[in-house]
């Protein structure tokens, strides 16, 4: 069993479609400086650094070397991880593992991406097997459209259900000064936006953004000393599944189902809908905000549309999801899942500003990527 670990500081850039004022290293420095300020630490307090992005989004293959000044990593142990969309939660998990191991007291975890520097869809297409699925099925939008299309047929979910999720997340972003896309949007606006790939429309889908996020993890002893109200890590779970898109179970989301089941077991959660006060979920498309609710055990398979229509996950609902505006409002890919962790930590710490949910004791955050992989973390106000 590892040491208990708390999050003691979070920083993020002001994200945008194009941050032409700042290079990738400058984005990293902006997030790191803000995280240090948030925790009231200096770089001298940091014992190890974890950093992650997707190499082929910027064609920079050694960020662990090239960004040493922005990271503050000179003569410190640096560990680079890169796992596609889940990079942010992998960076978070890795920061947590480092601190929990007892080998490092205070660990800085950084995710970043400068998606404006290349063709994101072309780069994402390189994730698919080049001699099998890349030509007929690659990219981000098509596969997500395919899975929701099947869910609609199986359970009677509608395009309006996903549009409702899109309007919820996009309007939540109005309360988040860091979000890239902040626009008041109605369900009709979403339904009337251009069709990208049936049933996914323009306003259903995430953008690509430039930005970075930094989260500081500390072991129990240090966290208590350095931070008045740490967000304690109750568990961190990762699940990967099959090799090919064709292998996937499209009616539900197996890695999310298995990762959350294991996380709830570890954290002693028996009724997630009741026990969580807030969730920051990696929903790359509003359709996932419908279908994947089943796989988080909030309801039985096919039960999600009913909850969505009831407003269960709205800011004033039973379990607010994505007060930050979520991934469809802001998506610097290597940082995206770490932003979920950072936002959830801020909710616990009471630092979430205008998007604060009152009195948060338990928060759920997830990462999604690759061939439908899941990284997941549960944070709490009380020690695990």
């Amino acid at each position: 069993m590892g040491k208990r670990v708390g999050i003691i500081g979070v920083g993020q850039t002001h994200h945008a479609a194009k941050r032409l004022d700042a290079s990738g290293v400058e984005l990293i420095a902006e997030a790191v400086t803000r995280a240090l300020d948030d925790a009231q630490l200096t770089m001298a307090d940091i014992d190890a650094i974890v950093v992650g992005n997707m190499d082929h989004f910027e064609n920079i293959n050694y960020v662990d070397g090239w960004a040493v000044d922005g990271l503050g990593a000179c003569m410190k142990p640096v560990f680079k991880v890169t796992t596609g969309g889940t990079t942010g939660t992998t960076v978070g998990a890795c920061g947590y593992y480092h601190a929990a191991s007892g080998l490092f007291d205070v660990v800085l975890a950084v995710g970043w991406e400068k998606n404006s520097e290349s063709d994101t869809q072309a780069a994402i297409a390189t994730c698919a097997n080049p001699t099998l699925e890349r030509d007929p099925f690659a990219g981000a939008i098509g596969p997500l459209a395919t899975e929701y299309s099947m869910y609609m047929k199986a359970f009677g979910a509608t395009e309006e259900d996903s549009a409702r999720v899109a309007a919820r997340d996009r309007n939540n972003a109005l309360n988040n000064p860091y979000a890239h896309s902040r626009q008041a949007v109605t369900v009709e606006d979403v339904l009337n936006s251009p069709m990208l790939s049936y049933p996914v429309k323009f306003l259903d889908m995430c953008p690509r953004s430039d930005g970075a996020c930094a989260v500081i993890f500390a072991n129990e002893e240090k966290a208590k000393k350095l931070c008045p109200k740490p967000a304690w890590v109750h568990c961190s779970v990762v699940r990967h599944d099959y090799t090919h898109f064709g292998d996937l179970e499209w009616k539900f989301m197996p890695t999310l189902e298995r990762a959350s089941a294991e996380a709830y077991r570890l954290a002693g959660i028996t009724n997630p809908l009741k026990e969580f006060d807030v969730a920051e979920l990696y929903l790359p498309c509003s359709t996932c905000g419908v279908k994947w609710m089943d796989s988080l055990w909030f309801c039985e398979h096919g039960g999600a549309p009913k909850l969505i229509r009831k407003g269960t996950f709205d800011m004033d609902g039973q379990l607010p999801i994505n007060p930050s505006g979520g991934v469809i409002s802001c998506n610097p890919i290597g940082a995206t899942a770490l932003i979920r962790v950072g936002e959830a930590a801020w909710q616990i710490m009471g630092k979430a500003g205008d998007r604060q949910v009152p009195n948060v004791k338990k928060a759920l955050c997830t990462g999604f990527g690759g061939c439908s992989w899941t990284g997941l973390m549960i944070l709490g106000a009380d020690l695990p």
Binding site: K18, R19, L20, D21, A22, S23, G24, V25, E26, A29, T42, M43, H56, E58, N59, V68, D69, G70, G72, C74, K114, S116, E117, S118, D119, A122, A123, A125, T126, P130, T131
Partner: protein, 154 residues
């Protein structure tokens, strides 16, 4: 060992993906390149805490993690710390044809070295410790090639 060629008919898929990248220079290096482009001058930035001068400029001090807001103009002269004579051709990426010389030049007033071409001299004549000066291009675009090369000070 049996030959696999008897059992496998080899097929190779040719890739078609060519991703055009473009990189934001950033606020720190922009200033460096604008000074170079507009005034033909080489600037560095200094750490307010330890006083170290970085050329090319850095985002943060490597040792202190301080913002480097103090800018200093350098005279453009320096000393060759090490070099090599490149004799192979790299046909796609490299802007110079072999043979050419590049190395590390420690500029006067800087605490870090800068890599660049050493020209205006026979490759055989280049020596470690040689005093050099920057040759600035007449037509400048705001990139590292606005410095043509460093040549020996006569």
């Amino acid at each position: 060992m049996p030959s696999w060629k008897d059992d496998v008919e080899v097929l190779v898929d040719e890739g078609k993906i060519s991703v055009p990248y473009s990189w934001t220079v950033g606020s720190t290096l922009s200033r460096f390149y604008c000074e170079l482009r507009d005034n033909g001058k080489i600037w560095g930035n200094r750490c307010p805490s330890c006083g170290k001068v970085f050329v090319p400029p850095k985002i943060k001090c490597i040792d202190c993690y301080e913002d480097l807001r103090d800018w200093v103009m350098l005279p453009g002269t320096g000393t060759v710390e090490t070099y090599t004579v490149v004799r192979y051709q790299e046909p796609v990426l490299h802007p110079r044809k072999a043979p050419f010389v590049y190395g590390v030049i420690k500029l006067d007033g800087a605490d870090t070295g800068m890599v660049h071409f050493i020209g205006g001299v026979d490759p055989e004549e280049v020596k470690v410790g040689m005093r050099v000066e920057a040759v600035i291009e007449g037509e400048r675009e705001g990139n590292i090639l606005d410095i043509k090369h460093f040549r020996p000070i006569k």
